[in-house]
Amino acid sequence: MAEPSLRHLGRLALPGAAIGAFAGPAALVLALVAGQPADWALATGVALGLPLALLGGGFGLLMAAGVISPGVFAPTALYWLAGFPLARLAHEALVGLLLVGRPVLPPDPAGFLAYQAIVSLGFAIGFSWLYERIAPGWLRRIRHGNPRAERLYQFYLRHAEAQWKARESRRQARAAARAASGKGAS
């Protein structure tokens, strides 16, 4: 298979990156509501949104490459178990860099990372939940001329078809049963 172009890779990464980036505005709003100065809030939003967007994009690329299976939660949880603490560490360092001109690390980095790893489960659940709903529609738009997107899209399509067939057969079985009972009554 030919190596995908940068444009194709960018498109494959977009849904995950968008979900990851969403954490940025969330942190920004949180900081503003907390009464933090606007520059501090902006710095924290950018510093958290950026690494999470990169990691979210990376997730999409790994899934497109077949490394992560679509819809399975365990690899997503493992990915964020490593990724979320690193993103938070980058967040702390970047905020320091943006505000005081040098990266600032938390006082107990090991404890900090361990704590963030626990919290990563929640983020992984939210991420997985959103990704499985956003990705199929997006892949449908970008699949033409993008073999990896096409392959992934076909997976979701097969699943949707199986669900649709099951629903249709139920509907037909019920219609047949109604018709039979109608005849019996007449």
């Binding site: 299976s69 939660f73 900090f112 963030q116 929640g122 109604r178």
Partner: protein, 506 residues
Amino acid sequence: MDASSSPSPEPASSTSPPTATATATASDERVWRAGRLEPMPIRELPKAPPSVHLLGPTVFLVALGVGMGESYMWPRLVLIFGPEIRWLFLIGVTLQAFVMLEMARYAMATGESIFFGAARVFKPLMWFFFGTAILVYIWPGHLSTGAAAFEQVTGIPWTVTACVGLILVGVLFSLAKVIYPLLESLLGLLIGLLVVSTSIVASMVGRWADVTSTLSGMFHFGYLPGEAMSATWFPVIVGAIAFAGPSGMQQMWYTLHLRDSGAGMGAHIPQIRGLRHAGEQEAMPSRGFMFDTDDPEEMKKWKGWRRWVTFDALLLFWGITMLVTVSFTVLAQTAVRVNPDVGDLIREGDREVALTAMADAFASAGTPVLHGVFLGFIALIGLNATLGLFDSFSRGQADMTYHFVPGAKRFSMSKLYAGFLWGVITFGILILNFGPADGPGAILDVLAFLSTFAMGAYCVVLLLVNNRMLPKPIRPGILQNVVIGFGAVFYLGMLIYSLVRFGVVI
């Protein structure tokens, strides 16, 4: 003769053949006879969905479960007794995970709700749950607490928010073409917000030391300080254990959601539609279905469904409940670290005072955002609870009415659902404006007692239904039976002990 119109003259399944090869009717259709109600025709079990659909109906349960227990009751107990008290939470939430798996066993094997299963064992059991649901769940207390928190954040009077919220819930559910997808998306979004926001807040304000003490507190089995064994606190602790995860009748309603989402044999049952589309409602079968448990292929599919529900249950229910509650406890410990007097404040105050005290304590921690965030969560939880509880209540009551009240079948299930929904909304609005939202003070104890009693009772019902109404190959194992049996003794025992020793219920 059609099997579905031929009530079984045979006694309960304990005397029936042990597997679903059960018996054949005059039309040669194979059926499974369970109890004295109509036998269940044998149909094909659909395949379990691929893992893409793993995030399924448990969303509802989580929506209902991640409520006051996680956000308020347990953090409050931790503030007073220390994190060591959380071992009781671990027991409560683990017990609920087992209950959930066993509820799903019956619902997925038959496409029937657990209420129907209870009626197959002994009809008055079902009527007990019908009456309890009305007595316990018509009071809009959960919404009023959320609306009160919303008032503190926005200044909008709580009665206005609560009434608008109630009407909004009714309109949304009545207009839905098919209720389930709407509810799934809506609650999924709200829960997603709650979980992601909690993760980010906890990630930014918590500390490793808080979480280690929270987690290690869960393994201090047997820790009960003297004060916990007092008339003031023991009933509160019993209530908090019962409210760890989905409480009251929420687990029973979960079986309706499983059925309506087409899990297992629920695939053969039509979905409930909103009132606006009630005319399109397919005929609701008068009983569920069973699959051929003698067929290895069918049993393979059954194992797939059990894996699906186990993952669903453990990941979403156990995982999220633990995450949210650990996060809130971390917040509570942050509050204590900054304001050591908060424990005394909470000891003295009632619910509202305690909520404000916790919010204030968070604010005084140097992170004023926590004041708004905490109250915002309480408001969101109130809305979530209202959406989930009103929908589930209406589904459950409509299900029992449709199948067991003579003459009710001339209305469609959707119309009955709408009737109960608007009934509870109308009552809610009247109570919010003219009466006590939590119910008349004089019967509050009775309602609390009934709610916890129902939990003990459904453990007993589960044991009876799953061990007597299902074919042998798909009955629960010894471990499941022992845990559910322990649940019955635990809930009923604590309740009765509280009543006898202290003369009070929760």
